[in-house]
């Protein structure tokens, strides 16, 4: 069965691009545009990798991970996505349990490698 990626991101421009990319690479893709949607989809416990934008319309992306972890439904790996790399944000993401912090836009080769590595 194909691995499932949950993209948590409120810009459809970005989710459209990622959907094409991940489907072509053979993954199942689900999309959530808010903290609430992400918690709902993630709570099913079927997500392998979560790509998590940090600033969502109804809160911080990290709230999604915190809630899913509290419910014992955290994905296999969560990769945080941010527009700007700074050490404070990075540390907050790692403390919250993210496997890594990616600075958008990551070259697609690098992005796919990151995901493969987390699934291995």
């Amino acid at each position: 069965m194909a691995a499932r990626i949950l993209i948590v991101e409120d810009s459809t421009l970005v989710t459209d691009a990622f959907t094409v990319l991940f489907r072509q690479a053979g993954y199942d893709v689900e999309i959530a545009a808010s903290v609430a949607e992400a918690i709902e989809l993630g709570s099913a416990g079927t997500v392998d990798i979560m790509l998590l934008d940090l600033s969502l319309p109804d809160g911080s992306g990290l709230e999604v991970l915190e809630t899913l972890r509290a419910r014992g439904r955290a994905p296999h790996a969560t990769l945080a996505m941010t527009g700007h790399d700074d050490s404070k944000t990075r540390q907050a993401c790692l403390d919250a349990g993210c496997a890594d912090v990616l600075v958008k836009p990551l070259p697609i080769g690098e992005l796919l490698r990151q995901i493969e590595r987390r699934l291995a």
């Binding site: 421009l13 970005v14 691009a17 990319l21 527009g83 700007h84 050490s87 836009p105």
Partner: protein, 271 residues
């Protein structure tokens, strides 16, 4: 008190009152300007941030095409799509430069110091710039520095400064030229590290030595200028160096190349 002195206290009082009013007005004007400046900075920050998202999507779509994930491209198509990726990347770098500058302006930048080897960092930045230099048949060499102690500084920020200086050297040096990085110590107890980035490029006239470190300033700011950019690179470099307690300056002569220097206090751990 003579009769002629009579009106004076009243006139003085009036004059004082006028000055007080003027001072108040000046204060109001300054406060108004400051708040407008803050608004402008906020606008610059928001707009830069908002520009990133669609641009990131454009680059990702173009990469998907370029990598042939939606079907193989022929060589011409691939070149064209590569042009979208490269142009997008360049635009993104400029937006990031504006964002970095804005964050510096609103004092949002803090240092995260760590111990590291400055020579290794110089070599890393040199390698990163090698492909760009090779295109112009430029050599980039590090002349010395093997014996230097490790530094305690914000590695990312210094990488940014070195990248900016070397990037400028590549941009303003014509084909076949030389770029070098020299590392030395100075001061009574050799307590200061001096980094030099030199080139055999077009040089800068003395009149512009100060100007180039000012934000938004470019020696040639005309729309037809041959070298484009935000004009923020050196202003950011100066900010980062000064945050470390160092200084940055240039020595140059038109037509004879430029030598950029910055200093960094050694053995003084900072928070």
């Amino acid at each position: 008190m003579s009769m002629s002195d009579q009106p004076e206290p009243a006139a003085q009082k009036k004059r004082l009152k006028a000055l007080e009013t003027q001072a108040k007005e000046a204060q109001r004007a300054i406060a108004e300007l400051n708040s407008r400046d803050a608004l402008k900075t906020q606008f610059l920050s928001n707009i830069s941030h908002d520009l990133r998202t669609p641009l990131a999507a454009i680059i990702t779509h173009a990469e998907i095409l370029r990598e042939g994930m939606l079907g193989e491209l022929n060589a011409k198509q691939r070149d064209s799509v590569s042009g979208i990726v490269n142009g997008g990347q360049q635009l993104l770098d400029m937006i990031d430069e504006i964002l970095t500058y804005v964050r510096g302006e609103s004092d949002q930048i803090t240092l995260s110091p760590m111990e590291f080897s400055i020579t290794e960092l110089v070599d890393q930045v040199r390698m990163l710039n090698q492909p760009l230099a090779a295109k112009k048949k430029l050599t980039i060499e590090r002349l010395d520095g093997d014996e230097l102690p490790s530094v305690h500084a914000d590695r990312d920020k210094l990488k940014h400064v070195l990248g900016n200086l070397i990037g400028n050297a590549i941009k303003f040096t014509s084909d076949g030229g030389r770029i070098w990085i020299s590392l030395s110590r100075r001061g009574k107890n050799a307590e200061e590290l001096v980094v030099e980035v030199g080139d055999t490029g077009r040089g800068i006239s003395r009149n512009n030595f100060e100007l180039i470190f000012r934000e938004f300033a470019q020696v040639d700011a005309s729309p037809s200028r041959p070298h484009h950019g935000t004009g923020l690179g050196l202003a950011i470099a100066r900010k980062f160096v000064e945050l470390h307690g160092g200084s940055i300056w240039v020595e140059s002569e038109l037509g004879k190349g430029s030598r950029f220097f910055f200093t960094l206090p050694l053995n003084t751990p900072r928070d």
